[in-house]
Subunit: 136 residues, 4 copies
């Protein structure tokens, strides 16, 4: 099994269907059933103490998993998150955040998997999410 | 048991510690172990099809629960989300979203509860979240 | 909307399809989109300190939600749990446990809802679960 | 970092504090921040169609994570599950189930991690759980 879309094809697709997110995420790699996405940090993501906020981490987890789904099933704007469970484990550093998404089950109607979030350069993950996407 | 802070006191506190969120949420009511918060919808929250995005709903759930915690324990900027599990159940309408937060357990170190999210005027909830906050 | 099956009909159905669970649970009430189920405590459910174990509480939550699904859609042995998220909040008392299940969304393919677990006679819940069932 | 207890020491400890679980699980390996536990299948774990029940899978996930915690912190009967989120992804085979637990964060008060469940000999996992343990 190989990825159905390249990084460039996914970027084009996202620019088209989510124009408001342009520039917020950088897709670093995709493969069959996985993706790595970077979120460059700017002020809008921060909370008191200078760390990345929970909603920003949720957003990165959601985006990274969506990219893994697109890489696995092709262009499908209507795939939507039906469940996300996220554990916040460590205070993120004040630097870019990386999301590593992995699909554990790709069914006809559901994709299930997890996303591990890292502050760039830290050895330990800052958050871990499991998620289910509904595929129309 | 009564709320430790009024709506006005919580608004002042949030403006001070989360200035970047000013104007994004409206606290409608607080009580002992509960809060209702409104998120006026604007373009930044939307995804294809004109519905509210998952990260925006996560943000509202997180904010509503944080307000319920503040109402219950007083001014505490460092209370942080440690877990959030959210089920997206229906497509939100293109209108304001309401979050009803309820604390089920208020311990010394953890607060556990849930948040039901509604599109204003709809009878059925659009999402439901359970969450745990760590209290320092 | 009224319940599609009575308590007696659900008991008969469960005895037929889950004979090994006979006598472990008592269905107290069912209604449209909800059910209340009691788990009489015996030694097999206990963990050190005499409290009900986590797996036993999971089992009650799962059973109560399944009963609510049966009450809502009728005899369907193949409805299965696809997700369960459970927060254990307080030490249960050494007495019967009650599970109150509520369906928040009943779709054609999924039922989503929550279950609150009580030790009989306690005012505060001991655990809270959210769950998704897949309907074949 | 090495494991604080050997497999034999953990077995002795569990026999002492959870005598009612004796013989239900086989600890296959422990290491720093991880454990592998086998659940031999017998009739009590089955549901209609001959597959392993959800509560039995929950029990294995909970046990495997508890063993990983014991291996990491030593003899501590009072460590308890505070949250478990489990996704059931595939129908288990009618054979032994294996749980691979991994601790992602070991704090002073909380351990957070995940457990992947496999039917012996299957390539794809049957379930995936994330869990938080409270450490007294």
């Amino acid at each position: 099994m190989s990825a159905k879309l390249t990084v460039g094809e996914i970027v084009d697709f996202l620019d088209e269907v989510f124009p408001q997110a342009r520039g917020l995420f950088v897709i670093e790699e995709v493969g069959p059933l996985r993706a790595r996405v970077r979120m460059p940090i700017d002020e809008q993501h921060l909370r008191p103490g200078g760390t990345v906020s929970g909603p920003a981490m949720f957003w990165l987890a959601d985006c990274a998993f969506y990219v893994a789904v697109l890489a696995s099933i092709g262009r499908e704007a209507q795939a939507v998150t039906s469940n996300m469970n996220i554990n916040f484990m460590r205070r993120p550093a004040h630097c870019d955040l990386i999301g590593d998404a992995r699909i554990l089950k790709l069914g006809r109607r559901l994709a299930v998997g997890d996303v591990t979030l890292w502050s760039e350069g830290m050895e330990q993950p800052v958050a871990h999410a499991t998620t289910t996407y509904a595929i129309p």
